[in-house]
Amino acid sequence: MIDVEHLTVRYGAATALDDVSMSVADGEMVALIGPNGAGKSTLVNTLCGLLRPAAGRFTVRGRLALVPEGRHLFAPLTVDENLRLGAWRSRDRSTGHIYELLPSLGPLRRRTTVGLSGGEQQMVALGRALMGRPDVLVIDEMSLGLAPKVVADLADHLRARNATDGLAVLLIEQNARLALDLCSRAYVLEAGRVTVEGRSADLAGDPAVAAAYLGLEV
């Protein structure tokens, strides 16, 4: 679904991504974990075509949709209008299927997004991304600032879409425990470079990863 080969991205003289290679296969859920400033959001923005790489290449097969960090909903618009714009590139902008997938959004459809809770806003952002009927979904910091119950709900929705529709997911997370629980494979990004990669179960057992990201002594 996503193939990144030797990707380097720079902001002026500063190198944000340095020779990064990674992949997400069809129907796979992959985590990208790492500290603040590691280059995670730079990778996301590059995959979405918002940044131009200085070197290397990447390919995205199928439709890619992004749930950006901080949600970035359109504040003056209602929930329903936000959802419709998620399908801006498509002719079919009917929102009915999203309310079936995410029933908690139904009662909110005519409200603007300003007064919604963080969890509700994240659900709208997820719905907006799903409106484009993506083959691969990139989620940047899904759990940031949300209550554990809300995060668990969102994770359940992702598992369901993955199991039912084969939706591939690239989950960018600081919450490594959540990321490794949800995804079958993971990459660790530090200072713009992939330092560790492998199956989530193996990474969870890796002493360095466990100590740095899971707060465990292994």
């Binding site: 979405c48 918002l50 992004l66 950006p68 970035h72 909903l73 359109f74 504040a75 003056p76 618009l77 209008e81 419709r84 714009l85 998620g86 801006w88 590139r89 902008r93 907006r128 484009g132």
Partner: protein, 284 residues
């Protein structure tokens, strides 16, 4: 009574031109955050174009329509120069529009000279409460009402309007969902240009236009738009009509020499009142 009605109707008519000019500013500002100081030039350019097209034998209606479309095209070009280069700040773009406005003076003088021009509008007159009103004023009011209602419907009821609003609200998120932010900005400039062009085309039969007529239009249009904080079309319409009526009353009962000063005082009063209110909010 007859005089008062006449001043009111003519004031509303001229106020419609201010409202259209102000609405153009609002559309552009809402989407791009650029205050377009070339807004008055669209009106002048379109109005002068009508004089040429009519002289060339084109019928009324067609000549005006072409001129309004030209206003839209020039608007899009202005947008391309002002915001086309990635990373241009709204402040830099504002200066660019100011420069383009001056360039428009040179082009207009070159093509049409520096003398005022006009052309015939809707002929005839009607009597309202004992006042004889030129029918053209009613045309101005009717066309403005239809066009501004259409613009409001565009923003409120269509996905294109929502995409324009979304671009203004969060350009990053707009790009994330696949909206072409630059194209939306150019579209806003085109709509702004057409609204400005329409203002010029409508008002010229009752008020001669020359290359520097843009100053009065943009000062009054900006004053109207300021009432709506440069973002609210309904308040811009109200501001434009209020300015037009007050100016007509001042011109009718006092002197026509003070009309522009009324607009400037109005804008100043709104800015002072708004600044005072913001202080109160910040203090709270």
């Amino acid at each position: 009574m007859g005089d008062l009605v006449q001043y009111l109707v003519t004031g509303v008519g001229i106020g419609c031109a201010y409202a259209l000019t102000g609405s153009g500013l609002v559309v552009i500002y809402r989407v791009t955050r650029v205050v377009n100081f070339a807004q008055g030039s669209f009106a002048v350019l379109s109005a002068l174009t009508v004089t040429t097209l009519l002289a060339a034998g084109l019928p009324h209606g067609l000549a005006e329509a072409i001129a309004v479309l030209l206003g839209g095209g020039v608007g899009a070009l202005t947008g391309l120069v002002a915001i086309g280069k990635p990373g241009t700040t709204p402040q830099s773009a504002l200066i660019v529009t100011l420069g383009l406005g001056v360039l428009a003076y040179a082009i207009e003088i070159l093509l049409w000279g520096d003398q005022p021009r006009s052309f015939g509008g809707l002929s005839g007159s009607v009597t309202i409460f004992g006042a004889r009103i030129q029918t053209h004023y009613l045309l101005i009011i009717g066309v403005t009402a239809v066009v501004l209602a259409g613009a409001a419907a565009l923003f409120a009821r269509t996905d294109l309007g929502r995409a324009l609003t979304a671009t203004a609200a969060d350009p990053y998120a707009a790009r994330v969902v696949g909206i072409d932010v630059l194209r939306m900005g150019l579209l806003a400039f085109a709509v702004g240009g057409a609204l400005g062009g329409l203002a010029g085309v409508l008002v010229t039969p009752v008020q001669q236009v020359s290359f520097d007529s843009d100053v009065a239009l943009v000062v009054n249009g900006f004053s109207a738009a300021i009432l709506g904080n440069l973002t609210r079309p309904a308040l811009t319409l109200a501001g434009g009509l209020l300015l037009g009526v007050v100016q007509a009353l001042v011109g009718g009962y006092l002197s026509t020499a003070y009309q522009t000063e009324v607009a400037l005082l109005f804008m100043l009063a709104v800015l002072i009142a708004r600044a005072g209110r913001r202080d109160v909010v910040e203090a709270a």
